[in-house]
Symmetry: C2
Subunit: 227 residues, 2 copies
DNA sequence: CGCTGAGTTGAAACATGTCAACCGGTGTGG
DNA sequence: CCACACCGGTTGACATGTTTCAACTCAGCG
């Protein structure tokens, strides 16, 4: 858990948040940033009519809620998918620490650059891939990122704390269609996903269906996004 | 032009690049970052089979080519849409300057946070909006961002250096469909876009079709993304 | 035991993609 | 100066992927 901290010895802002709750909501002020220490978080946007898009899944080490300017309100919200531990860092604390240690600003920049790259990848997936490719791509990404957190873990199984509806919100599909895609992948013996348990049955075919270049898969191998 | 510089007095890396050329390509090393001073740039990804996705349009003040780690090769390329002026900053120069001035890291972070927010918005558009909404949204975004660069400008017309195919690559549509959407918007007297000239005929209806909240439109009002 | 949230399946509607033909401007070489 | 090719744009007919709507199952839970 210590290795995930942006500001090593700052502990005053540590909080626990239960699954389902928002760390911060759309429209919030951005007076603090959130350094995720444990658990899964979904960052999402909403349209007026209730359509929802998950734009990012955050794992331990992620930094959330960074606004480009101090007066811009957040256009995204962040929901805990599991129980979550975060370090809440007021912007004032961040700026004072970054003045003492210029490395902090650069770490923050690296983390944001990482998020940008993931977002670009996600964008490409949604914009240019078929439903089948998108779902495969997402499962592979999440599996890879998850596994990188537990070095040496060789299991092909994991708890993926998502519903099919959330997968739909992330891939730009309806949950009905996500279901059909998952059924097909299951019948073909590629992956199994049932009630939050994901099992990769045939990694090679999954990679093929997802259409990912091993190069790119490597960029998901974060333990700490700024390292 | 000076107001767009991340590192105020660094001029050694200044370059001009002609329209159509890449500032950097997919797979490049990331030994330098690119501070856009003048012109338009499209940041894109490619899939193996040639499908292309434009993930970002960069305007003066943007910072491009920032990699999360020093050894990750770029998964995106950046193409000049117009003639472009950039300041090419070697990472070594960046790190040495940022040690002297901690503000530089934070500026970089703000710029990246801005890019992330735009990417999230773009993601939402592609994932959850109809073709018509997406195109309207993109035109409105680009018009707003462009206009913010020329404070006081009240013209409803601009040069938008894009082909319909590039609009398709940005919105995740085919150029044929983009054409149909643009024809419809033109017939309805909302916008006109012909050979790189964009004219907004009915701003209110465009905003309505795009389905944007004025709040969000404000977040596009960058003059310098880190200011 | 009935309720609720998640998942599953089928049929039909619809948005967008594909393919193909054609237009108009522009630059180039004979 | 004409012929031609090329690029971007335009339009129609048709194919297809995805959504919508609706009904139903299953598991967990008060």
């Amino acid at each position: 858990m210590e290795r995930h901290r942006l500001i090593p010895r700052y502990r005053d802002g540590d909080r626990k948040i239960e699954a389902g709750r928002d760390l911060f909501s759309i429209g919030s002020s951005g007076k603090s940033i959130f350094n995720l220490l444990e658990g899964w978080v979904a960052v999402y946007t909403l349209l007026e009519d209730g359509r929802r898009q998950i734009v990012q899944f955050a794992l331990p080490g992620a930094i959330l809620g960074v606004l480009p300017s101090r007066r811009a309100p957040a256009t995204v919200g962040a929901q805990a998918l599991t129980e979550v531990a975060v370090s809440v860092i007021p912007v004032s604390v961040l700026t004072s620490h970054s003045q003492a240690d210029p490395e902090i600003g650069m770490r923050l920049a690296r983390s944001l650059a990482h998020d940008c790259n993931l977002a670009f990848d996600h964008l490409t997936s949604i914009g240019r891939r078929s439903a089948r490719e998108r779902v495969a791509h997402l499962l592979l990404e999440l599996f890879t990122r998850y596994r990188a957190q537990w070095p040496g873990n060789r299991s092909e199984e994991m708890v993926l704390p998502l519903t099919q509806e959330q997968i739909g919100d992330a891939t730009g599909l309806t949950f009905v269609h996500v279901n059909r895609v998952l059924s097909a992948l299951r019948k073909e013996g590629i992956v199994q996903f049932h009630y939050r348990r994901l099992r990769i049955l045939d990694p090679d075919r999954l990679i093929e269906v997802a259409g990912v270049d091993p190069e790119i898969a490597m960029s998901w191998l974060e333990r700490c996004p700024w390292a």
